[in-house]
Amino acid sequence: MSCEKAESLLHGYLDGELDAVRAVEFERHARGCPDCTRELDAQQSLRARLRDADLYAPAPPSLRRNIRERLEPRPDEGAASAPRPGRWRWLAAAAVVTLLATVPWLAFRETRQGTSEGTLAAAALDAHLRSLQLGHLTDVVSTDAHTVKPWFEGKLSYAPPVVDLAAEGFPLIGGRLDVLEGRTIAALVYARRKHVVSVFVWPAENAPETAPRSSVRQGYAWIHWSHAGMRYWVVSDVAPAELEQLARLLRR
């Protein structure tokens, strides 16, 4: 392969968009070519800089609120033009209580696993929102998995797997104890850009392994699965595809 040809394939290689044959051809050329190796390194470091620079511009709360207000069913009569309390994610605890009281969780019953999925989805979202509202994201604040994991020792009857995924764009923030369905479990907290992701982990207790299943509601996404003896529920307000990416990383 010529350098021109390699150069034309380099970006597809970098982006994981080459088919296997061309990727192997590119690698073979790059191994023996200092110029192409240097260019690949340069492009990889440019990409790392872009990714680490926190350039993503998520929607500000005011935009969410405006969209939300346009989506709310109109009140039947009267206060049509009065400002409605936004039931959006950043608002006060009172608003969250309103949200949880009014979300029709019945919708989840359509899912294959019946009511338990809907109940858990509600409980997990509830726990996630509670931690945001009370400013109680973490009991142990650390980006180091080796600090977070031992912290759970003695507080739980099991050892939750703890991994840092900073290199993959999900830095670990810390962990906390939370309660789901009456039992105390581990909640790991990851960041995704400016967003918080709660990962609830508890023993699967002989339940079969299940593939990730995801859903969204009211601007929140969640995904859950069972893997290696543990059940995972992940809740956040990031896009569902990003939770799917996180699920893949946690299942590695």
Binding site: S8, L46, A53, A57, P58, I67, P73, V216, A221
Partner: protein, 188 residues
Amino acid sequence: MEPVEAQEGPSLLSDAERQRFEQLVVPHLDSAHNLARWLLRSESDAQDVAQEALLRALRFFPGFHGGDPRAWLLKIVRNASYTWLESHRRAELSEEFDEERHGEPAASPEAQAIARAERERLRDALEQLPTRFREVLVLRELEGCSYKEIADITAVPLGTVMSSLARARRRLQRILIGPAREETPHEL
């Protein structure tokens, strides 16, 4: 029968459709805002255009039959952004494909490198790129879109996505290296 409101858009949707919109499209609001912000290079304009795009999406939603909702929404955001640029800052669009035009060097790259945070350097560099280059980079590096999604959103053939990205990245590198050393990038 529910009374039909005079206002266009959202009110024309049934509750079920509105709910579907909430489930499929609203979760991509961050993506919508992010793309608008980088196309327009302005926070406040991005918010206006993203909101306009969301409402347009809501209006068009009955015509959305499956497919990738993020790509669908981003196409609408992109159209709204270009329309906005067209009427507010037309000059930016006409400079687009002038390959020879280098990014304007910001004052004193040395002082800049010392004084400015990395984030600001990258933001400035990205903002110096022509809109079409900035667009593919934002979709790829910030939004994580595949080539196929980029082709879909930006309405270009799949085969040209890779070369656009290559050019955009080389341009960005050149801007980051700075004008002083721009002449001899191969020696670095």
